[in-house]
């Protein structure tokens, strides 16, 4: 209970250390950008990138302690928060590196400021434990992303991408918020743990099912838009294709990972197994809804990706399918022990974040050299830049789920979690659709390594920032694929902390 513990200033500050760090960084970047002028833009980019990467280490300096709830119950800082904060901070750092030479973002210093603020929102979102905090954090992630998507003001495609993202995003927020207002009304509380207690006791709604189901559905629809799962995916391809490539990379990983982290915590805490209304287990209802969305996303995302010729559009459909796989892990929470579901989803998103950043960094380099985003223009890439082709291949293998890249263990842990919680059918569909996915990922690999290209004599140079981005992401993807135990143990420890907190009522 938030009131039961004394206010400890040092521990409270440590619990939001990444948020404090990113706030300071945002101010520093704003001042640097205002006073240094155009010739120092690369320097500002490096400051933003290394600063954000440094912030990613603060959760190790101040690891989670026994008390996990801070700031009057609005912030929860445990192992799951920690792993997701590291993830989004590193994603922000690599997104800053990627923007240095991109034609859509390189001329404007405020790009880095907006990325840092969005990362700040994501760090807050994964730690949010209160409806008000969730809403504020979600908008702190989203509003900067609307600006970033329409960042190339002169480009029709970018402006259109921003408009569509904004309209669908704000619509989704409004639906989510209506669900929140109902939950508040049914419990008189905004703290998610207290909402669950009030619902279980039946303080206000008593034993009636329909209102709670309506609230649950609205919340799930809102999150469905944010993580782009079928049937709420239709904005994704246009937004991903039209936005500047570094922005697409950031949108596809940071906001998605943070929203998933919140979805996991929200569903486990607010609608626990003990919540039974009119003889109907709430958990069974949301597991069914999530499982349906997962099946639809895996099938529709992968099938529609088959006929794409634009690489960014292909990755948009691929990311819809990947969100479907991550939802398998969310559905696996039904076993009653959230450890497997939470840890496998966290591991999957960790590997997905770095695989996606890796391929998008490659696309930025390729597009800067050739001006094209078409898959057929990748032909002959292995002779133009073998290292670039190698990095992109590692990423595609990881997304497809082939060892030694990380995607193999990502899918393995997910399907294991699904089988452990009696969702064998879901795991089967996952395996079958990932065979379909193999086809379109390997087509891209084949074009890069086998097909003869017209410009094979023009090598593509890899600049220093991109060298760093590609190298770090490749190393992480391969490391996770060879030695997954480090990260999965870390995620399991975090998930067990949630489980213990649920059982003892610490949340």
């Amino acid at each position: 209970m938030p009131t039961a513990t004394e206010f400890n200033f040092l521990e409270s500050i440590a619990s939001i250390a990444p948020v404090v760090g990113l706030t300071v960084m945002a101010v520093v970047i704003l001042l640097l950008d205002a006073y240094l002028g155009a010739q120092h833009r690369r320097g500002i980019a490096y400051v933003a990138s290394f600063g954000t990467a440094a912030v990613a280490f603060t959760p190790f300096i101040w690891p989670p302690v026994e008390q996990t709830v801070f700031w009057g119950g609005t912030i929860v800082y445990d192992g799951v928060t920690q792993i997701f904060q590291v993830m989004v901070c590193l994603a922000g750092a690599i997104a800053c590196l990627m923007a240095i030479d991109d034609r859509g973002t390189r001329n404007r210093g405020e790009y880095h400021l907006i990325v840092v603020i969005s990362t700040l929102g994501a760090c807050l979102l994964v730690a949010a434990n209160d409806l008000i905090m969730i809403f504020i954090a979600l908008e702190t992630v989203s509003i900067p992303l609307y600006i970033l998507a329409s960042f190339q003001r002169k480009s029709e495609r970018s402006a259109e991408s921003g408009l569509k993202y904004f309209l669908f995003g704000s619509f989704a927020s409004a639906i989510l918020l209506f669900g929140f207002s109902l939950l508040f009304g049914f419990s008189g509380q905004t703290n998610i743990a207290l909402i669950a207690e009030a619902l279980v006791r039946g303080d206000i709604v008593g034993d009636t099912l329909p209102p709670v189901v309506i609230a649950l559905t609205m919340v799930l629809v809102g999150f469905g838009f944010k993580v782009s799962v079928v049937p709420f995916h239709f904005w994704t391809p246009d937004v991903y294709e039209g936005a500047p490539t570094p922005v697409t990379a950031f949108v596809s990983v940071a906001s998605k990972a943070a929203s998933f982290a919140l979805l996991l915590r929200f569903l486990v805490v607010v609608f626990p197994q003990s919540l039974v209304l009119q003889g109907q287990e709430m958990q069974a209802i949301w597991v069914n809804l999530v499982a349906i969305a997962a099946v639809l996303s895996m099938i529709i995302g992968n099938v529609l990706a088959l006929r794409q010729s634009n690489l960014k559009r292909l990755l948009a459909y691929s990311s819809i399918a990947q969100a479907g796989y991550a939802l398998v892990g969310v559905a696996a929470l039904q076993s009653g022990d959230p450890t497997y579901g939470v840890s496998s989803t966290a591991f999957y998103l960790f590997m997905y974040t770095f695989s996606n950043l890796l391929i998008f960094a490659g696309i930025v380099l390729f597009t800067e050299a050739t001006g094209s985003e078409e898959i057929r223009d990748l032909a002959g890439l292995q002779r133009r830049s073998p290292m670039l082709a190698l990095a992109m291949t590692i990423s595609l293998l990881s997304l497809a789920g082939i060892p030694p890249a990380a995607g193999f263990f990502g899918k393995f842990f997910l399907f294991q979690a699904a089988v452990n919680s009696n969702l064998t059918g879901l795991a089967m569909i996952g395996v079958l659709t990932s065979i379909v996915a193999l086809y379109y990922y390997l087509i891209v690999v084949k074009v890069m390594w086998v097909d003869p290209g017209q410009d094979e004599d023009k090598p593509i140079a890899i600049g220093a920032p991109y060298g760093w981005a590609l190298a770090i992401s490749s190393v992480v993807v391969l490391f996770l694929g060879v030695i997954p135990s480090q990260i999965i143990d870390w995620a399991r420890a975090g998930a067990e902390a949630i489980q213990i907190a649920l059982r003892t009522g610490l949340l």
């Binding site: 609307y146 639906i175 929140f180």
Partner: protein, 102 residues
């Protein structure tokens, strides 16, 4: 004072009108206005629930205040994006912006 259900009916009606507007209107600014209607429905809900179920606590009230602030921030960004698309295309209708397929 009218009972709670009357407030909830008004909020639900506003929310439905807003949802209909988002789905049926083609003009970007009209869609933005519809989203604002939905947010206002949320605020009516929050304040009504706060008054009837937990008037001693400040959380529902604070929630409504934050919804105001963030709706304003969202509208500011949204209008800026709409103006920038109007400058390049002379139109604010998302479907007519078709540089991207779909």
């Amino acid at each position: 004072m009218p009972p709670l259900w009357m407030y909830l009916v008004v909020a639900a009606a506003l929310f439905s009108i807003g949802t209909f507007g988002v789905l049926a209107r083609r003009n970007g600014i009209a869609v933005l206005m519809s989203v604002e209607l939905m947010l206002n429905a949320v605020n009516i809900n929050l304040v009504a629930f706060w008054r009837f179920t937990a008037p001693m606590e400040v959380n529902g009230f604070a929630f409504a205040a934050f919804v105001f602030v963030i709706a304003a921030a969202e509208a500011a960004v949204g209008l800026a994006i709409i103006i920038s698309i109007y400058r390049t295309r002379r139109s604010v209708i998302p479907e007519e912006a078709d540089a991207l397929r779909g």
